[in-house]
């Protein structure tokens, strides 16, 4: 297959970027989007040009590093997938494809299509943990958890930190990401002692990083490759309201 690519090129966070147009030919229909970019880069290297920098690691939808904004959508035209699991057969032969980095103030561009998403890590550092005493390993099953609660908590725990929710949101809000962690730990007994402090601290960090507010448009859940549901956000809202209106039973 043959494509015309409009690719965002940017030297570093400080330089202004611009689009460059490239042609790629002979792309197999079953090539993934990243493999198509590999083909482009081989061509650029052969021509003595600078290859396009893009993020990737596992190439099987689990690491969350392959964030690209393709034809106006996070991870391209299909819902709920990562870029590495997007295949060229989903495009038409001869298509023009526009590729931009995930754009948000807290996601500065490192180079071309690679952005720095460590703002998300800093949100996790504020509350994505539980405190336990170190020592010998606790007995298995010493804390019973109902199957239904464990399943629901696991659904929220599957976030891979890709940042597609931020990229898709009109306000560049990190609510789906943050709420997935809040909801995950709020459903488990181990998450209770820090439950109220956690939600307050993570929301404060989200604001401090410069992410926007949530308008409940739901764009995030459409693009989220882990299919984190919007109920995560409802759970965060609920916990945040309670945490601020009632005293913390675990306060030290």
């Amino acid at each position: 297959m043959r494509f015309t690519l409009r690719v965002w090129r940017q030297k570093d966070a400080k330089s202004p970027g611009q689009f460059e147009t490239y042609e790629v030919d002979g792309v197999p229909a079953d090539a993934s989007f990243l493999e198509m970019l590999d083909i482009l880069n081989e061509k650029l290297i052969k021509e003595g040009k600078e290859p396009v920098a893009f993020d990737h690691d596992c190439r099987e939808g689990i690491c969350g590093s392959c964030g690209l904004f393709i034809n106006g959508r996070a991870h391209g035209p299909l819902p709920n997938i990562t870029t590495c699991r997007l295949y060229m057969r989903h495009f038409k032969d001869g298509d023009t494809i526009t590729i931009e980095p995930f754009r948000a103030r807290p996601f500065p561009v490192i180079k071309d299509l690679v952005v720095d998403r460590s703002a998300l890590d800093r949100i996790i550092q504020k509350g994505g943990y539980i405190s336990v005493n170190t020592g010998s390993a606790p007995d298995a099953n010493s804390i019973p958890i109902a199957k239904a609660a464990a399943d629901r908590a696991f659904d929220y725990a599957t976030c891979i930190g890709c940042g597609a929710c931020v990229a898709a949101c009109k306000n560049a809000s990190a609510m789906l990401f943050t709420s997935a962690k809040v909801a995950h730990l709020a459903l488990l007994p181990q998450g209770q002692p820090e439950r109220r402090e956690r939600v307050k601290r993570m929301v404060a960090q989200m604001d401090a990083e410069g992410f926007g507010h949530c308008s409940n448009t739901g764009a995030c859940a459409v693009e989220c490759p882990a299919k984190i549901p919007l109920s995560a956000i409802a759970r965060l809202q609920r916990d945040f309201i309670w945490a601020n209106l009632t005293p913390d039973p675990y306060a030290r």
Binding site: R73, T98, S173, V203, N216, G218, Q237
Partner: protein, 224 residues
């Protein structure tokens, strides 16, 4: 920002707290719309405004309604202040816009146009307040409330503006109704979401069709 305010209300200055304020005032304003519409529908009784004027008289003199009116003003002011804050701040989190953004693929028209519907409703409110509140309660016109309405709605230009504003208010409500319950953390599963969305659409149709019937009634009575 949160740190600057006192701890008891500081949380209302976070992005999540500000949305809780929007949702609470939004729900309050939605209940007000129901009350306002039920009164206005008296205009359609065909009694040359007898029932409506009595109702307007009651609303502008009853002390209990006076207190509610102050709350209503506050509700509007807070919702509008907070709304304008979000509208003005929105672009800050993404200073470099996308060149190509296919937002229609993952969001509804109603949620995407909240800012536009908000501004139209705000303009409407100003015109509306000038026309009825200022005229009757501050300048003390000699017209009855019914006569004021009749003059306003028999003007096709005013009626068109009114109908357009309520269409846009409908847009605001389709998303706003659902969104406010999501903001308050009510929607924990798909069943509740379906329920809220259905009730929200029924509510919106009631409000939009109800208010729109009034100018249509007056125009029809004048021209047909």
């Amino acid at each position: 920002m949160a740190q600057a305010a006192s701890p008891a209300v500081g949380w209302l200055h976070t992005s999540v707290g500000r949305k809780v304020v929007m949702a609470a005032t939004g729900i309050f304003l939605m209940t007000f719309l129901v009350v306002h519409l039920s009164g206005n529908l008296l205009l359609l009784r065909g009694d040359r405004g007898a029932a409506f004027n009595a109702y307007a008289e009651f609303m502008s003199t009853n002390p209990f309604i006076r207190v509610l009116e102050v709350l209503l003003f506050l509700g509007f002011l807070i919702h509008i202040y907070q709304g304008l804050y979000f509208i003005l701040k929105e672009k800050q989190a993404r200073p470099q816009r996308y060149t190509l953004n296919a937002a229609h693929a993952n969001t509804s028209l109603f949620s995407r146009t909240m800012r536009i519907s908000a501004v139209v409703v705000l303009v409407f409110l100003i015109v509306h307040m000038r026309h009825f509140f200022v005229e009757h309660r501050i300048l003390g016109t000699s017209l009855t409330m019914y006569e004021s309405c009749k003059i306003a709605f028999e003007n096709p230009l005013y009626s068109a503006f009114y109908l357009f504003s309520f269409l846009l208010l409908g847009f605001h409500l389709v998303h706003g109704f659902y969104s406010s319950f999501q903001t308050l953390g009510v929607i924990l599963n798909a069943r509740v979401e379906r329920l809220i969305r259905t009730v929200g659409i029924a509510f919106t149709v009631f409000i939009t069709v109800g208010f729109s019937a009034i100018p249509i009634y007056f125009l029809a009575a004048k021209y047909f």
